[in-house]
């Protein structure tokens, strides 16, 4: 145990000493400065360790002057204080190191004194047990902050310092007045003493007002809305190091003392006060950051918002009606939030110090500038935005779960704020990753790196805390695999090695997860994931491609998080992996051409995921098991996230560009397997939630319509798409729409259709996307009008694509038909005839784009610039062949998949097995009809070969002519361009249906975003930048607090 007074005394002494040294040997000041900070840090850490290990049992009470508490001042250092002290000095050390490397402003001894005393003041604020002493430390912190904020001597910094000074003076006046009044009322200044008196029944009619006066003063320092304009100005204007220290450390001390004060003064209305101001600040700030173009101010809004969340959590803690288990959860959440915010924000602000400009556009290209920068930035942004596995995620999870016991509206508020946060952080991320050129970035990156490593290092701790409180278990094998996946990043010097390692890892994963490959729903999807990933990974053979070094790690993370997802036994676990999968896929998509698409994807994913989390928070048990009498809202909330991944209308707007512009090597996985995770999730929702819904049939019918409309509209859009990958994207989404329709039927046959299609869609769409990747790699474009005639250059790919397209169109002899047949049979059996009509029509429309794929790429005239194009690379060709086989085999023997599905459905007792019989002549027999796959295949192949032989034998000499040799109205065409019909192929049809393809959803979503953005823009005007106004806000809000909560 280290006496906390040593920390304060020695720091003060050092500060005075620095003052002397500065006068004689300014250079030597650092020899006092750094060791002092190190000592402070170590001393706090020792105490914290003491508390955590249990060697220090009760809080350390330091009686200054030897007087017992009410008489003398005392310091009271418990677990929280020790932790906060450690945090403060850790952040201070980072900041000091960073500043020192950059060079302190001269005279440096003075700035060191300010820096040291700011950290000391913050520590003192948290240590002290006396209200007036609190005021003194508040003033120390404030004055040091004024000086430090102004220290860069830039105009903005001075302006910010002045505003802070004005507002801070008012706030400390409130605190001072409150403290003195408190003394008058209770006769004491000691926190414990007063707390004891109040708990012991002491009351006074003005006690409420007095407490509120103090709390209002503290709330100003806690930057609650709308009295936080000054704070935002500081974040924007001050030196980033100072900001890191303020946001990372000093504010947290105010937070702690706010909580302590509120709990000592214990007025019943405090928790409402905190909830309202915390929640309001949180939501409003996250929202206001949307259109912020200044990076530092954006981070400022984020900080303020995080602080709001903390205050909200504090409100929960103060609430008398919070059950004990939830209290533990909130406490853990608060710890994690503080940890998360301190380090991520320090990291981000110190990174900002390395970037030349302040505007978001000045940040363009910084990610490619240095791997350290990229790592720190990504880690910090992900953590602060609350993505797993970083501490911020667990904090949010815990908080949401605790808030759910309190009020669903609180959950909604937290999640709405979290979503808004994701919106602008990912916007930030995508803007930063824009641009090809590298930005010039400073090399002062060690401190941010260390801060972000702290975040990474805190992951196990955070996980453990959350797991304890939520009785959460994640499949251990998957965690190991995820960890190993990240290690692949270290092989970043060679893509080939990464590729090999990835293949090995997938193989290892398959070996590790082999016991889970059972005939149930999880096993079914697990098999798909592992087999599919292995095959598709093969096709990503790096060759001479320009792959990012994080491609393979992210790819593997997606794969293994999917594995974890399907193996989840609790909703939490499912959500965790869902989120991991989402961000990893975001990263992958962001590596492609469509950065903005990646952003939209991330935003919608997050919206869906948070809706899901909201739903989970309403569940009585975290285990994935039958939910008794759920409401329709619950079902909707739970399925929303899955619907987003399936890009169901109207949540489809991300799909086209995200698929179309993601890296070509990732798209097969995205379409073939990842979109199926939505299917898996929806299946769970249907099985465990929807099944007990009183309005089940209408809910299902609604989802059925959603599915079929997705199929219809996406097919229609695919018809008019001029980009190969985007066309396939639409097609993919449409097919998943069929799958959703099958699930929504909720009959054994419908599910059979859905599951069959799930697998089969992987085969043909995986094949098509792999082929597309090969084509794009060779041709250099995905734009259909620039292709054509490639059959001559890539016959194998053409053949593979041909079969895949036939399967896609669902034309009989190949595997695609089975899904269609099952689906229509199921639809008509169920009596959803209107949906059946639309589904039929949609699949008719699919023929249109099927032809387009084949024609525009492979047929017609070969363009001159493509004359030298070679067949796709060998790995791609191999994968094409591998994926071809099931298309044909399943076409003849659908039972190869139907039987396992039947077994899987046998496990799903709620559903039963499909009513299908298998006879030799009629093939598969349903109640409605029959279909003999083998016969059709044999018949078709036989007839075809017979006709071919006959033709070959009987026909005259066949002469192969050149591609330009056509009967073209007697003219001799000059170039292939004249003859190729590859653009606007369905313009005539478009004229008929243009009213159907109006981009309504995109317009609506964009409209909503723009409208919200405009509101945010308007709302931000509340921060006029005017000092008088800010002061008026402070007075006004304080009065409001006094008026409303005095009771």
């Amino acid at each position: 145990m280290v006496n906390p007074i040593l920390i304060i005394g020695i720091t003060l002494g050092s500060a005075f000493l620095i003052g002397i040294v500065q006068a004689f040997r300014p250079r030597w000041t650092g020899w006092i400065f750094y060791p002092t900070l190190v000592f402070d840090f170590l001393a706090s850490a020792v105490n914290l360790y003491g508390f955590l290990s249990g060697s220090i049992g009760k809080p350390i009470m330091v009686k200054i002057g030897g007087f017992p508490p009410p008489v003398g001042i005392n310091l009271l250092v418990g677990k929280a204080e020790a932790a906060l002290g450690t945090l403060i000095f850790a952040v201070a050390l980072l900041g000091a190191y960073h500043w020192g490397r950059r060079g302190f402003p001269q005279p440096q001894g003075k700035i060191m004194v300010l820096f040291l005393l700011l950290a000391l003041g913050a520590a003192g604020i948290s240590f002290t047990g006396d209200f007036f002493n609190l005021f003194v430390f508040v003033e120390i912190t404030s004055i040091a902050s004024y000086g430090l904020v102004a220290s860069s001597r830039r105009e903005e910094a001075l302006e910010a310092a002045f505003k802070y000074m004005v507002v801070g003076s008012i706030s400390s006046t409130f605190i001072l007045l409150g403290v003195v009044f408190l003394y008058k009322a209770t006769g004491s200044l000691n926190m414990l003493d007063i707390g004891g008196k109040i708990a012991g029944g002491f009351s006074s009619q003005v006690l409420g007002l007095i407490s509120l006066l103090i709390l209002a003063g503290l709330l100003v320092e806690l930057e609650v809305f709308p009295i936080n304009g000054w704070a935002l100005d500081i974040y924007q204007g001050a030196d980033p190091v100072v900001v890191a220290l303020l946001a990372g450390a000093a504010v947290k001390a105010f937070y702690l003392v706010y909580l302590k004060t509120a709990s000592y003064l214990a007025l019943p209305s405090f928790f409402k006060l905190s909830l309202i101001f915390g929640g309001g600040t949180y939501l409003v700030s996250q929202f206001f950051a949307w259109r912020q173009e200044n990076a530092r101010r954006l981070l400022g809004y984020s900080s303020v918002g995080q602080l709001g969340l903390l205050i909200l959590a504090g409100g929960l803690l103060l609430s008398p009606s919070l059950p004990a288990s939830s209290r533990a959860m909130v406490l853990a959440a608060v710890v994690l939030l503080i940890l998360n915010h301190s380090f991520s924000k320090s990291s981000l602000f110190l990174l900002a110090d390395n970037v030349k400009g302040e505007k978001l556009e000045d940040w363009k290209g910084v990610l490619s500038s240095s791997p350290v920068f990229r790592f720190s930035f990504t880690t910090s942004v992900f953590s602060v935005a609350g993505l797993p596995p970083f501490p911020g995620f667990w904090a949010k999870l815990l908080l949401v779960m605790a808030a759910a016991r309190f009020s669903p509206w609180l959950v909604a508020l937290i999640l709405a704020g979290a979503l808004a946060e994701v919106v602008y952080y990912f916007r930030f991320f995508y803007l930063v990753s824009l641009g090809d050129k590298k930005a010039e970035v400073g090399n002062n990156l060690l401190a941010p790196l260390v801060a972000s490593l702290f975040l990474v290092g805190a992951v196990p701790l955070a996980y453990k805390m959350a797991a304890d409180k939520l009785s959460l278990t994640l499949p251990g094998g998957v965690l190991v695999l995820l960890g190993l996946s990240l290690l692949v990043y270290l092989l970043g010097f060679s893509r080939l090695l990464q590729w090999l390692a990835s293949l090995g890892l997938v193989a290892y994963g398959a070996y590790l997860l082999l016991p889970f490959l059972k005939a149930d729903l999880s096993g079914f999807f697990l098999g798909l994931i592992l087999a599919g990933a292995a095959v598709l990974l093969l096709a990503t053979y790096p060759g001479a491609k320009n792959l990012s070094s994080s491609f393979y790690p992210a790819y593997l993370v997606v794969v293994f998080s999917m594995a974890g997802l399907v193996l989840s036994t609790t909703w939490f676990s499912l959500f965790v992996f869902w989120e991991i999968m989402s961000w990893a896929s975001f990263l992958l998509i962001n590596m492609g051409r469509g950065k903005k698409a990646a952003w939209i994807y991330a935003v919608l994913s997050a919206a869906g995921a948070y809706a899901m989390l909201g739903g989970i928070s309403l569940l009585p048990s975290p285990y994935i098991s039958s939910v008794k009498s759920p409401g329709p809202w619950l079902a909707l909330l739970l399925s929303l996230g899955f619907l987003v991944k399936m890009a169901t209308v109207p949540l489809h707007i991300w799909a086209r560009d995200a698929y179309g512009e993601s890296p070509d090597d990732f798209t097969p996985l995205l379409s073939g397997i990842m979109s199926k995770m939505g299917v898996f999730g929806s299946a769970l929702v249907f099985l465990y939630v929807v099944i007990n819904l009183s309005s089940r049939s209408s809910f299902n019918y609604l989802l059925g319509w959603a599915g079929v409309l997705t199929a219809f509209f996406m097919t229609l859009l695919a018809v008019f798409q001029e980009d190969l990958k985007k066309l396939l994207a639409y097609s993919s989404v449409a097919q998943v729409g069929y799958i959703l329709l099958g699930l929504a039927l909720f009959t054994p046959l419908g599910w059979t259709a859905a599951l069959y299609h799930t697998v089969n869609h992987f085969f043909f769409k995986g094949l098509l996307f792999v082929a597309a990747a090969g084509i794009v790699y060779r041709v250099g474009t995905s734009y259909l009008p620039h292709m054509g005639g490639l059959i001559r250059r890539m016959p194998l790919t053409f053949f593979a694509s041909l079969l895949a397209v036939i399967a896609l169109a669902g034309v009989p002899p190949l595997s695609g038909f089975a899904g269609k047949w099952l689906l229509y049979t199921a639809l008509i059996e169920k009596g959803w005839i209107f949906i059946a009509v639309v589904a039929f029509l949609a699949s008719t429309l699919a023929f249109l784009y099927s032809f387009k794929i084949l024609h525009a790429v492979f047929l017609g005239q070969l363009q001159e610039e493509n004359c030298e194009v070679r067949e796709v690379p060998i790995p791609v060709a191999v994968v094409e062949i591998i994926l071809l086989i099931p298309l044909v085999v399943l076409g003849a023997f659908p039972r190869l998949i139907l039987d396992p599905i039947t077994r899987v459905l046998g496990k799903v007792t709620a559903l039963g097995i499909p009513d299908l019989k298998y006879t030799k002549t009629l093939g598969v027999v349903s109640r409605l009809g029959h279909w003999n796959a083998l016969f059709l295949m044999v018949f078709f192949a036989g007839a075809f070969i017979l006709a071919l032989i006959f033709f070959a034998l009987t026909s005259a000499r066949v002469k192969l002519v050149g591609q330009m040799d056509v009967g073209y109205s007697g003219e001799v065409p000059r170039s292939p361009e004249d003859l190729h019909f590859g653009y606007g192929m369905y313009d005539h049809f478009r004229r008929a249906v243009k009213w159907l393809i109006y981009p309504l959803a995109t317009r609506v979503w964009r409209g909503i975003y723009e409208a919200l953005g405009a509101v945010a823009e308007m709302g931000r005007r509340i921060y006029t930048g005017d000092t008088n106004t800010y002061a008026a806000y402070v007075i006004g809000i304080s009065l409001l607090i006094l008026l409303i909560f005095k009771g």
């Binding site: 005839i833 009509v837 409605l928 009809g929 018949f939 005259a956 056509v966």
Partner: protein, 302 residues
């Protein structure tokens, strides 16, 4: 089994011949209505023979080469999946191979193959024709599907045999009369299927020189030609089975299919041609509406 194949093969030959004959008749009737003498009704046979005997055939590539086979097999396959006389061991073809859903998808195969071959020819008119054809398909499929679903739901079966059996017991049990709106919708979409006027823009003989098969000649064309003929007969048979109660013997089959054949023929000679978007929109309005009427009825009655 082998006997079955033999019977089917014979029926197929008959079907092709019948199809060619109907084509000739149609040309004759059209000519007469336009006050021409027109070719003889056997003209199609002559054409076919002539094409088949041509010495040299020009090919543009593999798909171009294979497409006629696709076309023929597709047409023949469709034909063979439709029973000529339900219940007859000789004339029910391979209808065990699949139900109506199978049939409807199988119908596409030949068209798709032909389209691919045509597209490989490198002649711009070919894909233009194909896209028009496919778009038109999107048009007429909607009313057709509507009426088919009406029948499937009404009869609770998806097999043609089942549908035919449901129509036994007198002319008034024909679906033509029990589901008149659906039948009307289907018959209107038949016009589109047969690419007859006013929905003939797919082939557009004047402007784009018979559309998809524009580059085909000689033996290739003869295959296409046969495929097309048998495909048409398959459609007539399908309609017969769906709406006219099927056929109890071969004679009835001839009579009923001939009647169905006459329907587009007359329309063809009366109406002008529609542009493609006009035809699509036409199909998506009136016939769809008719189909919906019956579907709604079924839905509500059920």
């Amino acid at each position: 089994m082998w006997a079955k194949i033999l019977y089917a093969f014979l029926t197929l030959i008959g079907g092709i011949a019948y199809g060619l004959l109907l084509g000739g008749i149609s040309r004759k009737i059209t000519a007469r209505m336009q006050n021409r003498r027109g070719p003889t009704v056997w003209q199609n046979f002559i054409d076919l023979w002539k094409l088949f005997r041509k010495k040299t055939a020009i090919s543009h590539g593999v798909m171009f080469y294979l497409a006629p086979m696709f076309r023929l097999v597709g047409g023949a396959g469709t034909f063979l999946l439709v029973p000529v006389v339900v219940g007859s061991p000789y004339l029910s073809n391979f209808s065990f191979g699949g139900d109506l859903i199978v049939l409807m998808y199988f119908m596409v195969l030949g068209c798709l193959g032909m389209a691919l071959g045509a597209a490989e020819s490198g002649h711009p008119h070919a894909p233009i024709g194909v896209t028009r054809g496919l778009s038109q398909m999107a048009g007429y499929e909607l009313p057709f599907i509507l009426s088919v679903i009406v029948l499937m739901v009404a009869d609770k079966t998806a097999t043609l045999e089942g549908i035919v059996r449901a129509q036994q017991g007198g002319i008034l049990h024909w679906h033509l009369f029990t589901h008149p709106f659906a039948a009307a919708a289907a018959f209107i979409s038949l016009l589109g299927m047969m690419t007859s006027y006013p929905f003939q823009v797919v082939l557009a003989p004047q402007e784009i020189a018979v559309g998809p098969p524009t580059e085909y000649s000689s033996t290739f064309l003869s295959y296409m030609f046969s495929g097309r003929s048998v495909f048409a007969v398959a459609k007539y048979l399908l309609f017969m089975n769906l709406f006219l109660g099927g056929a109890s013997n071969l004679l009835w089959a001839f009579v009923k299919t001939f009647a169905i054949f006459l329907w587009p023929l007359f329309i063809t000679n009366v109406f002008p041609r529609l542009r493609l978007e006009q035809s699509v929109l036409f199909f998506w309005t009136w016939p769809t509406f008719l189909g919906l009427v019956d579907l709604l009825r079924i839905y509500l009655v059920r």
